[in-house]
């Protein structure tokens, strides 16, 4: 019973800056978990979870400086995990779109040349290729 009281007091006395950074990191982590990061960026996500847990432990130990630093790192790691998932989705969509465009162009060229009318459709390759995604796979 006294133990509970002590933990309650410790939580109450915790560093407000660390508390805020931990809350921000938690929100970023929740967003990342809902954005497909568990599949796209499991390593970054695991790092964010681990750092958040250590931040909370440090905060419990009243080590506000360590808690703040770890929470900041957990926050940016979670953001990177989320951005990785978003980037991979966008890239896959661009690749798929390009494939469908290529099919459409080929079909339109066939239809146009069948009538031997002047080409109406723009030639393939008039648009730049999708951005290369090298940063994270």
């Amino acid at each position: 019973m006294f133990g509970t009281l002590f933990i309650g007091c410790a939580a109450y006395a915790a560093n407000p800056v660390a508390d805020e950074k931990i809350a921000v990191a938690k929100a970023s982590l929740a967003r990342a978990e809902q954005s497909g990061a568990p599949q796209s960026a499991p390593v970054e996500l695991a790092s964010a979870r681990d750092k958040l847990a250590r931040a909370e432990a440090a905060n419990q130990d009243r080590d506000g400086k360590t808690a703040t630093a770890l929470a900041e790192q957990a926050n940016i790691d979670a953001q990177v995990a989320e951005a990785t998932a978003v980037q991979q989705r966008s890239h896959a969509a661009a690749v798929e779109f390009d494939a469908s465009m290529q099919a459409l162009r080929a079909e339109s060229m066939r239809a146009t040349s069948a009538v031997s009318a002047p080409a109406v459709a723009p030639a393939p390759g008039t648009l730049p290729a999708p951005a290369t995604s090298g940063a994270s796979q």
């Binding site: 630093a69 900041e72 790192q73 940016i76 790691d77 953001q79 990177v80 951005a83 990785t84 978003v86 980037q87 989705r89 966008s90 890239h91 969509a93 661009a94 779109f97 390009d98 469908s100 465009m101 459409l104 162009r105 079909e107 339109s108 239809a111 146009t112 009538v115 009318a117 109406v120 459709a121 723009p122 008039t126 648009l127 730049p128 290729a129 999708p130 951005a131 995604s133 940063a135 994270s136």
Partner: protein, 152 residues
């Protein structure tokens, strides 16, 4: 003797450095952050689509460099890490937005191709109709001529 002197000096230096800094200089972290920020800055997509993220990364790097100059190596290490990750964030955001823009531009082209294909179909249908009408008129004329011949 020379070697003995220089190694003694070296050892002294190590002792002094170790005494001055409880945390080692985060050279690797700083170098990482510098190269991450410079690479990100050179990416044209970042300038166009993730300028805010890049600014955050540069700010973190500047803070890390300043802390290192002040021998505040804990802060330098932390800010260097944040700078590296902010730079990655800038690159990821820029790539995603560039791909989205590529698809958006492609959709305009796709609509043009589809419109052209529909116009072509209409033209073909109209041509076929005109041909059928002409044929019909010709047959009618022939039938009329035959009828006229029979009556006379």
């Amino acid at each position: 003797m020379n070697i003995g002197l220089s190694s003694a000096l070296g050892l002294g230096l190590v002792v002094i450095v170790a005494a001055c800094a409880s945390t080692p200089v985060p050279n690797a972290a700083l170098e990482n952050a510098r190269s991450a920020v410079y690479t990100t800055e050179a990416d044209p997509n970042v300038g166009q689509y993730a300028a805010v993220d890049l600014a955050a990364a540069k700010q973190d790097l500047a803070a890390a460099e300043a802390a290192a100059l002040n021998h505040d190596y804990d802060v330098a290490s932390q800010d260097a890490y944040l700078a590296s990750q902010s730079a990655r964030l800038a690159q990821l955001h820029a790539q995603a937005k560039a791909d989205d823009a590529h698809v958006a531009a492609g959709k305009v082209e796709r609509d043009k191709i589809q419109l052209a294909a529909r116009n072509l179909e209409v033209q073909q249908a109209q041509a076929a109709q005109a041909q059928a009408d002409a044929k019909q008129a010709q047959l009618q004329a022939e039938a009329d001529a035959l009828k006229a011949k029979q009556q006379h």
